[in-house]
């Protein structure tokens, strides 16, 4: 399919193009065999496989050099990754090569408990590369296209909106930013590309799985969102079902520009399998009176390091970041937020909630920076941690850098443990111990869950209940 915005091929040309594309791939690149490791040749092959323009290949190669020159981060969690032992690019068909039988039973069971429809289950498990949502969402996409909205996967965007991508990619998060941003820039695949023209307000959330694309399951997603002046968009990524993947490293980059008077809300709920390193760089810049909101839920994975950022560039810009982290056995959630006030009268708010259970570890790591000259700026940070048992752990690392006098910066942190008395109280009303703890946990995250779109809130609560199951005794 030519673009995601079209339900059906508009004419024979598209169908033909589609067929030719596949022919091209199978005939010319039939020799491409996925192999482990990372070097210039592999990066070139990836670029070639995707039939990318030269500038993109050059961007990748330059990024690879940066990646090689950068040390591993020395903070956060322990990253035990052998970069030469990873597949950096799998053809969509290879993703599809996995069968339903390869999916671990506990993942299947969770899908069942969450009541995920059959088709969606296979998609989520990475067994099926496409999720048949096209028919359902077809009319919606047409409507968007008419307004000039671009909503597609980033690979397609490079081919069809090359100028736009070229102008902005790497401008918010340059490859030099950190080792994993460099890695992503070198080997990225998939991700969403969204452009919302001036003044266009999209009333319903755009969801990643509205997209129909084989590369949805990419481990190195590259997402870009450009919200033009006065426009509004809410993008929802991921899903509460566990993301099953045989790959152990996932490293995404998300770049967002929110122009004057515009609004962007980005909601992610990710629930990774336990073997995954999830190292993500997410950053937005907000201009005059614009509002950027990140809502970020992190569950599962072996290690997640993720600190969505908002840079407030012009007066009146606002940034809000809400995050929930749930760390269970063998998991470390090192999550948080960054707000940087670069202009006067900018405002930020961070609410972070973490839950540690069954030996899990969660850390809040946050930066609040107010640059010299950003007079009248306000920042409010609240981070609360709930620890469910003595084996579990929670830490807070707040970094506050204020270079200006006339500002208001507040930071509150709390750590609490589920109290025996609370459990007894709820049990004395007929709740089981497990029901009681999950009720306490859902109450703890409720201030955040109520910010989620309805269906996500419901799923989030169900997910927490599942995470809580068997946590007792």
């Amino acid at each position: 399919m030519a673009t995601d915005l079209q339900t059906m091929p508009l004419d024979g040309q598209d169908v033909l193009g589609e067929i030719q594309k596949y022919d091209f791939v199978t005939e010319t690149h039939g020799v491409f065999k996925a192999r482990k490791g990372l070097n210039e040749q592999i990066v070139c092959e990836i670029s070639e496989m995707k039939r990318e323009p030269r500038w993109m290949r050059d961007f990748r190669l330059k990024s690879l050099k940066v990646f090689e020159s950068k040390p591993m981060p020395r903070w956060g969690g322990n990253i035990g990754i052998d970069f030469q032992d990873i597949y950096y690019y799998l053809k969509p068909t290879e993703h599809q090569g996995k069968t339903w039988d390869d999916v671990p039973p506990e993942i299947k069971e969770t899908f069942d408990k969450l009541g995920i429809p059959e088709a969606e289950k296979k998609f989520l498990a990475g067994v099926k590369a496409q999720f048949e949502s096209e028919v359902v969402y077809g009319s919606l996409k047409e409507d968007l296209a008419q307004k000039g909205v671009i909503f597609t996967d980033t690979d397609t965007a490079v081919r069809e909106h090359g100028d736009l991508v070229r102008e902005y990619i790497g401008t918010i998060i340059p490859p030099e930013d950190n080792k994993f941003a460099a890695l992503n820039s070198a080997v990225w695949s998939g991700g969403s590309f969204i452009y919302v023209p001036k003044g266009v307000k999209i009333e319903f959330p755009l969801q990643a799985y509205f997209r129909i694309n084989a590369e949805r399951m990419g481990q190195f997603e590259r997402t870009m969102i450009l919200v033009d002046e006065g426009a509004e968009v809410h993008y929802v990524e991921g899903c509460t079902a566990p993301m099953y993947s045989s790959e152990s490293l996932h490293s995404a980059v998300v770049e967002i520009i929110v122009r004057r008077g515009a609004r962007c809300r980005y909601t992610t709920i990710q629930n990774w399998a336990n073997n995954i390193y999830n190292l993500v760089t997410k950053r937005a810049v907000a201009y005059g009176d614009a509002l950027m909101e990140w809502i970020d839920g992190n569950l599962g994975s072996r290690l997640t390091m993720k600190y969505p950022a908002v840079y407030m560039m012009e007066p009146g810009a606002r940034g809000e970041i809400l995050s929930i982290a749930f760390a269970s056995k063998g998991q470390h959630q090192d999550a948080g937020a960054k707000v940087v006030h670069c202009a006067p009268h900018t405002k930020s708010r961070i609410i972070s909630k973490s839950i540690s259970k069954n030996g899990g570890r969660s850390s809040y790591r946050g930066l609040c920076k107010v640059q010299d000259g950003a007079v009248g700026s306000k920042s409010n940070v609240v981070c609360d941690a709930l620890i469910l048992d003595p084996k579990s752990r929670s830490d807070t690392y707040p970094y506050i850098e204020v270079e200006e006098q006339d500002v208001q910066v507040e930071h509150e942190a709390s750590v609490s443990r589920i109290g025996e008395e609370q459990l007894f109280y709820l049990q004395s009303r007929g709740l089981t111990e497990a029901e009681a703890s999950s009720m306490i946990v859902s109450g703890f995250i409720e201030p955040l869950v109520k910010e989620l779109p309805m269906e996500y809130a419901v799923e989030m609560n169900r997910l927490i209940e599942l995470q809580m199951e068997g946590s007792v005794g």
Binding site: E420, S428, R429, L431, T432, A434, M439, I440, G443
Partner: protein, 275 residues
């Protein structure tokens, strides 16, 4: 046969320290019992141990519900079997709405065999019942949307406890100083409501220092606790004596228990002094 809650020669320790030393009491459905006694004599401990508080260790004696030993049951099972306690100090559960909490609680108590994740009572039916009960207790509808005991005033907490009792319709209810924190009118209303909820159906143990809660709930029996034991049991007259004259006469009549009381109080001071 009338259903009974029978406590026999109950000895209870907390953290190895004996607190109750031989409490015996039988409550039948339909009866009102008043339990009085100075602070620190062990009234709340008795209430907690009947409800199944995990920290209270029963070292001797039994608690039986209709002839069945319930000591091994946890609080969940006891609640589902029809035992209720209105807490002296209810716990706040931030972020959990009263209505959601009550819907879970009510479902569980009415369907004692319910497993986690199984259906709750239908929303409509539940809402209607809750609204009716709240009107009866003259509570604002807004109350149902507030978080459980979070930021409640003392009086609001106690009224919330009565609302819970009204919804759960227990067989046996223990009310631990449910009148404290309420103003005169509110206690009157509470007293009436308790009588209405209980009717002739519920066995009630009312822990109190005052007479107002007993106004519409005339005790069939009054027990006085001192130093971890019930030292006297009488009728409504005993209650009257206690709330008008205090506990000095009781202490004089039971010098040994009064000595234990003193000791417990001193020990407590010592412990808290160290901490």
């Amino acid at each position: 046969m009338t259903e009974t809650l029978k406590i026999k020669n109950l000895h209870v320790a907390v953290g190895g320290k004996p607190i109750l030393t031989g409490v015996t009491m039988t409550i039948r459905r339909g009866e009102v019992h008043a339990l009085m006694g100075p602070n620190g004599s062990g009234k709340s401990t008795l209430a907690g141990v009947i409800m199944g508080h995990p920290n209270y260790e029963v070292t001797e004696g039994t608690i039986e519900l209709n002839g069945k030993d319930i000591l091994e049951w946890d609080a969940t099972e006891r609640a589902r079997a029809g035992i209720f306690m209105a807490f002296q100090r209810p716990m706040a559960i931030p972020g959990v709405k009263m209505a959601d909490f009550l819907r879970h609680a009510t479902t569980n108590v009415r369907k004692p065999d319910r497993k986690e994740g199984e259906q709750l009572i239908p929303m409509r039916e539940f809402r209607k019942e809750l609204r009716d009960k709240m009107t009866q207790l003259r509570m604002d509808e807004e109350f149902a949307r507030r978080y459980v005991n979070d930021g409640f005033s003392g009086g609001e907490m106690k009224r919330a406890e009565i609302l819970q009792m009204a919804m759960l319709r227990p067989k046996f209810a223990i009310l631990d100083e449910t009148d404290s924190g309420l103003d005169v009118d509110a206690v009157k209303l509470a007293s009436q409501s308790i009588a209405e909820i209980g009717g002739a159906d519920m066995g009630i143990l009312i822990i109190t220092h005052h007479d107002r809660l007993l106004e519409h709930n005339t005790p069939d029996f009054t027990h006085v606790m001192l130093g971890g034991r019930i030292v006297e049991t009488g009728g409504v007259d005993l209650a009257r004596e206690l709330y008008t004259e205090g506990y000095d006469k009781v202490r004089q009549r039971h010098p040994e228990d009064a000595a234990v009381e003193k000791e417990m109080a001193a020990e407590k001071k010592f412990v808290s002094g160290v901490a």
